[in-house]
């Protein structure tokens, strides 16, 4: 019976996502991959946040609450469809008149192979990764048993600081929702959400890359960025790194569209994904600042336009209100090990600047490790050199800015960390690269597009019409 309740939970997540997709993007034309991506990822993000807020109101979100959310989502979705407010599908076959292309089957099958591997590793086993057990499973179980208001003893007891008491709660709440549906913290069936998260990551990366490349190269870039061995194993481990990568991919997709279109739906979706990323892992918060800066930069000159101001207000409202509630709730939670804000002192920064050489050398060694990462990181300098003409297009500069700021942020954290640097990098660097992978995919796609030619025209066309040119 536990399997049935898990399946119902997945259905509810998808219903919530589908209703949110229709409500936000309305009648805009969208590719099937983008619609599926939004149904999955918005479902995960919105349901998880609703459960957190319900729990903050003092109620343990049990099966009844989740079923009610599903019912409301179903009614909303039916109402939106009744009023004709649903995206018009841009069928992929339009690109090449009913021809999928035999060559495209190769990367497509490889991606499906990767997904199957993650499915087997997720559902076939219980959670074994140490961080996943003591940090994320612990939080999921705490939220299964206790409401977040009054704050459970766990969050204020320094004895449990090994599980990082102040870490964001979105990823464990998604798992906790599965526990709630089963009415027991059954670890193995609850892992059904892991392949769903991985599928969301793949679809969002593909949808973002598809803005810049035709189908076949887009599939190949998605394969390279979403199916490295390390990423797939981590996707099945149950840590919060792949969910963060998924939400980052969503934020990047709609940031890219925002740079071109300035659509209100793009602003709302970019805001939501940025917020979800910040609620998934601590790294998501500084990334939210970077994303917000790059969101604002291209439209500073257009601030007099009312539509732009409304979109900006929507974007920042989502971030400020959403994160504001979280920060108010977590006031007073002890953080003894990783108080990085407290280490932002010139003495520490300049005192540790000598670590830079070790950090860069370790990064270089890790990124060229092809068994873990395939050719993703190796391809970037090569393709950037060959496709240098991409720098004529402004969004290439913005993507590079995002990539360098993201990498720079992690280098900075390694400079100020109180932990042993070698040990910390050994344990964390690969996981941080998972967060950067979607940005790397887009940088790769931007340069590959310039090699094929017509990157800017294609980008504008896809953003305007939702349909890829033949």
């Amino acid at each position: 019976m536990t399997g049935v309740w898990c399946a119902v939970y997945i259905l509810i997540l998808s219903l919530v996502g589908a209703a949110a997709t229709c409500a936000i993007i309305g009648r805009r034309r969208a590719a099937l991959a983008e619609m599926a991506a939004l149904a999955i990822t918005l479902g995960l993000g919105i349901t998880g946040m609703l459960l957190i807020w319900i729990s903050m109101l003092g109620l343990v979100p049990g099966r009844g609450v989740i079923l009610s959310i599903g019912l409301i989502a179903m009614i909303t979705l039916a109402g939106l469809i009744w009023r004709g407010r649903f995206p018009r599908p841009a069928w992929p076959v339009w690109e090449r008149k009913l021809s999928l292309g035999l060559l495209a089957l190769l990367p497509l099958l490889a991606i499906l192979g990767g997904f199957t591997a993650v499915m087997i590793l997720s559902i076939g086993f219980r959670t074994m990764n140490w961080d996943s057990v003591v940090i994320w499973s612990m939080k999921a179980r705490v939220m299964h048993y206790f409401p977040l208001t009054p704050r459970p003893w766990y969050f204020d007891d320094i004895r449990f600081t090994y599980s990082h008491l102040d870490y964001p709660l979105l990823a464990p709440m998604i798992t906790s929702g599965a526990y709630d549906m089963m009415r027991a913290p059954n670890d193995q069936p609850s892992r059904i959400v892991l392949p769903l998260i991985y599928a969301g990551q793949i679809l969002l990366v593909y949808s973002a890359v598809r803005l810049l490349l035709p189908r076949l190269p887009a599939l190949v870039v998605t394969l390279i960025a979403s199916c490295p061995q390390y990423l797939m194993v981590q996707a099945a481990m149950g840590s919060a790194d792949v969910p963060l990568s998924m939400f980052r991919a969503g934020a990047l997709l709609y940031l890219l569209r925002w740079w071109d279109r300035r659509g209100r739906d793009d602003a709302i979706l970019c805001g939501l994904f940025t917020f979800f990323a910040a609620m998934t892992k601590s790294e998501g918060l500084p990334l939210a600042l970077i994303t917000a800066a790059l969101f604002l930069t291209p439209c500073i000159k257009s601030l007099r336009q009312r539509e732009i101001r409304i979109s900006l207000a929507a974007y920042f409202l989502i971030l400020v209100v959403g994160l504001g509630i979280w920060f108010v709730w977590k006031i007073g939670i002890p953080h003894t090990d990783e108080n990085y804000l407290g280490r932002l002192r010139p003495g520490i920064i300049f005192g540790n600047i000598g670590r830079l050489g070790q950090i860069l050398a370790t990064m270089a060694r890790t990124t060229i490790h092809w068994r873990d990462w395939g050719v993703l990181w190796l391809l970037i300098p090569v393709v950037a050199a060959i496709g240098y003409r991409a720098f004529r297009v402004p969004h290439t500069w913005m993507l590079w800015a995002m990539l360098l700021l993201h990498v720079g942020l992690y280098i900075f954290v390694y400079i100020i960390t109180p932990w042993d640097l070698g040990e910390l990098m050994f344990n964390s660097l690969d996981r941080l690269l998972i967060h950067i992978a979607p940005t790397a995919a887009l940088v790769l796609a931007a340069h590959l597009a310039s090699i094929a030619g017509g990157a800017a025209q294609r980008f504008n066309h896809v953003c305007d019409t939702g349909v890829s040119p033949a």
Partner: protein, 176 residues
């Protein structure tokens, strides 16, 4: 050449997709799945679940370690895994493995915390049980859970539940 390039990249992708099945982690997972015998950590995890199932439900638990050395890797590893996974599996009961304000990040800090509370300390926190893991003289591990008396005599309050008159304690479980 253009198409050949894409085909080669796609083939590289296929190889990359096959790699999880060769990686150490996944290899362990797949072997475990095929043979029904999980790896070290998972096996220990299952044992812990069995241990906790022998405890009566409801009461908070103190996890006490005796005769463990902060210098021995095996001791530190056991203590940290038993404490951290125990805290997870014991929920919604609260697990204590250190005095107030003590950080339990690793096996060394847990052992060096010398947590062996008195009955008074346990009762002040409404802890219903103390679970002892003890290295015996033969280098083996004794485990036993001790239920706390509801109305202890005043002279018992400043003793640890296991130290005195073990015959009068309610002992649960007990696994070599």
């Amino acid at each position: 050449l253009y198409w050949l390039g894409w085909v080669l990249l796609a083939l590289a992708g296929v190889v990359v997709c096959a790699l999880p099945f060769c990686a150490n982690d996944a290899n362990l997972l797949l072997r475990s799945w095929a043979t029904g015998h999980a790896g070290d950590f998972s096996e220990g995890y299952k044992d812990m679940e069995q241990t906790w199932k022998t405890l009566p439900p409801g009461a908070d638990v103190a996890l006490v370690y005796r005769n463990f050395s902060p210098d021995l890797e095996a001791h530190k590893r056991f203590v940290v895994q038993f404490t951290h996974v125990g805290a997870l599996l014991l929920l919604p009961r609260r697990a204590y493995a250190g005095y107030d304000g003590i950080v339990l990040n690793d096996g060394k800090s847990i052992i060096e915390g010398h947590f062996d509370p008195t009955l008074r300390w346990l009762m002040e926190r409404h802890i219903g049980m103390a679970f002892y893991s003890r290295m015996n003289a033969q280098g083996g591990l004794d485990m036993l859970g001790v239920g706390l008396p509801r109305e202890p005599r005043p002279e018992e309050l400043d003793r640890t539940p296991l130290a005195e008159s073990p015959g009068s304690n309610t002992v649960f479980g007990g696994r070599p």
